[in-house]
């Protein structure tokens, strides 16, 4: 039993110190200003302090910390990407995730569940093999499995899929995991805060300024901050922020929605994704089935929920798990996703010196939280792109040098 819990039990009115500071005023200047106190922004703050000793940092958020895509995603972590640069990046993320509970002294509930991407046609099975072969070659545990193995991993799954587009196989990614999203954000906030980094919630950025030497100031509702280093980590709002410096990007904003059922006793231990049925499902440690689908089809800057999303998701889920008819959806929500043309993030330096971008996370980038923080911290500290994110620079679009993830444009979250 943890000493920390014993303290709660035996010391009257015991509470741990504040997880994060809540300073009321902004300083005039910081070495680094991070826009967005989500997982990525807070992770960057943590690694700036831990790896580079940079602590004169302010993390700003328009709302409360972890309230954007960090708190809205369905927490799936995996590294079964198609390109070597993608695999290396996300595998590095998994390695950090595995140690994160200890590093942050916060249990983030990192839980390996195994991740099945179902193939309902020979064409998707072929793409699954492509991913599997790339992964295997790079030392990542992925393989194409047949229906017997799927049934062993998830006996409840209906292989004939309700009579049409039966499951033919799957890409099985054993390291596929889930984690408690809020805990990741809070853990990073705690660690950054402990090292003196300031977290300013409810401090929206309303403008950015630049001069001949690059980015020069951040204008907020609480005053102007002078700084030479700004990170935009505001997935879902990136074009608005980059627009403040007239930086153009290919990012388009689409809504992404999810929902959970009432808690039921756990029966689903794996993560199931079906690209052709547009859904993914796992069961949380609270017993809720966490379910999501693909992006909504039209650009929208809103977190609204739609009835169409939840009805079509329910329609499809019964193909895989027909016994869920009587299980009830408790809550649905939406968020905004930054989409890029090549399904890879946009990270690193930008045309404006000192202005760094961490964006384009598509379906929300939770799985990249630690590594994006670490590589962005190194990029900001050194002023040059970290080797791990070199292929993700914004300049690739102008150079026609896209990342190859789009090769297999299948759904995965």
């Amino acid at each position: 039993m943890s000493i920390r819990l014993l303290k709660h039990a035996f010391i009257e009115n015991y509470a741990e110190p504040c997880w994060f500071n809540t300073p009321s005023t902004l300083k005039d200047t910081y070495d680094v200003v991070i826009i967005g106190a989500g997982g990525h922004g807070l992770a960057c703050a943590h690694y700036l302090a831990q790896d580079h000793g940079i602590t004169n940092v302010a993390v700003l958020d328009a709302s409360y910390l972890g309230g954007g895509n960090t708190g809205r995603n369905t927490t799936i972590i995996r590294s079964n990407y198609l390109t070597p640069e993608g695999v290396r990046f996300y595998d590095a993320s998994i390695q950090l995730f595995k140690e994160l509970s200890l590093d942050l002294e916060t249990n983030i509930f990192y839980s390996e569940r195994g991740h099945y991407t179902l193939a309902h046609s020979s064409a998707t099975l072929r793409t699954a093999r492509w991913r599997a072969e790339v992964n295997k070659h790079l030392g990542i545990k992925s393989e194409v499995v047949g229906t017997d193995e799927i049934s062993r991993g998830c006996p409840e799954l209906r292989i004939d899929c309700g009579g049409s587009h039966a499951i033919e196989g799957a890409l099985f990614h054993a390291p596929g995991a889930v984690a408690r999203h809020d805990a990741v954000a809070w853990g990073y906030a705690k660690s950054a805060s402990a090292r003196g980094i300031e977290i300013h919630q409810h401090t929206p950025v309303i403008g950015l300024e630049k001069d001949s030497e690059g980015v020069s100031a951040v204008i907020t509702n609480k005053g102007i901050i002078k700084t030479r280093n700004v990170l935009s980590a505001v997935a879902g709002h990136t074009p608005t922020v980059t627009g403040m410096l007239n930086i153009k990007s290919p990012i388009e904003i689409f809504p992404l929605q999810a929902c959970v059922t009432e808690p039921i006793k756990p029966w689903l231990d794996t993560i199931i994704v079906s690209g052709s049925l547009h859904l993914y499902i796992s069961q949380s440690s609270r017993g809720e089935l966490v379910m999501g689908a693909t992006l909504d089809p039209m650009e929208l800057h809103s977190r609204r929920s739609t009835l169409g999303f939840v009805t079509s998701l329910c329609d499809q889920i019964l193909d895989l798990f027909p016994f869920l008819s009587g299980v009830k959806i408790n809550r649905q929500w939406g968020g905004m996703a930054d989409m890029t043309p090549d399904f890879a993030p946009i990270m690193g330096t930008s045309p404006v010196k000192g202005f760094y971008i961490d964006a384009g996370w598509g379906t929300w980038g939770f799985k990249a939280t630690p590594i994006s923080g670490k590589t962005m911290a190194s990029t900001i500290a050194n002023g040059i792109n970290d080797p791990l994110i070199q292929s993700f620079n914004l300049s690739r679009f102008g150079d026609f040098d896209l990342v190859g993830e789009k090769g297999a444009a299948a759904v995965g979250h």
Binding site: P239, T240, G243, K248, S249, P250, I251, E252, I253, P297, M298, E299, L300, H301, S302, R304, L307, G308, P341, F397, G398, D399, F400
Partner: protein
């Protein structure tokens, strides 16, 4: 459900439409652009009144639709002649 009264086809749910990817015809000469790549890939995606091409598959008609990309409110829809 978001619906709108369209010309020709009447009141429709927007779920019946798909949106065109390349919205403007490719010109024979690119104007003042940073590079071809930027011309191809860069997008404007801030909350705004956007003009979009929408396709209605059961009538096989294209429409030009003006829409608020923050509220989803549709201001106008016209058939694309041709």
């Amino acid at each position: 459900m978001n619906y709108f009264d369209f010309p020709v086809i009447g009141r429709r749910s927007i779920d019946e439409f798909t949106i065109g990817d390349d919205t403007l015809p490719e010109p024979s000469v690119l104007g003042n652009v940073q590079s071809t790549g930027n011309w191809v890939f860069d997008r404007e995606s801030t909350p705004r009144k956007a003009t979009e091409y929408w396709f209605h598959s059961s009538s096989q008609l294209w429409f030009i639709v003006e829409r608020n990309t923050e509220t989803d409110e549709i201001f106008s829809a016209e058939t694309l002649s041709g």
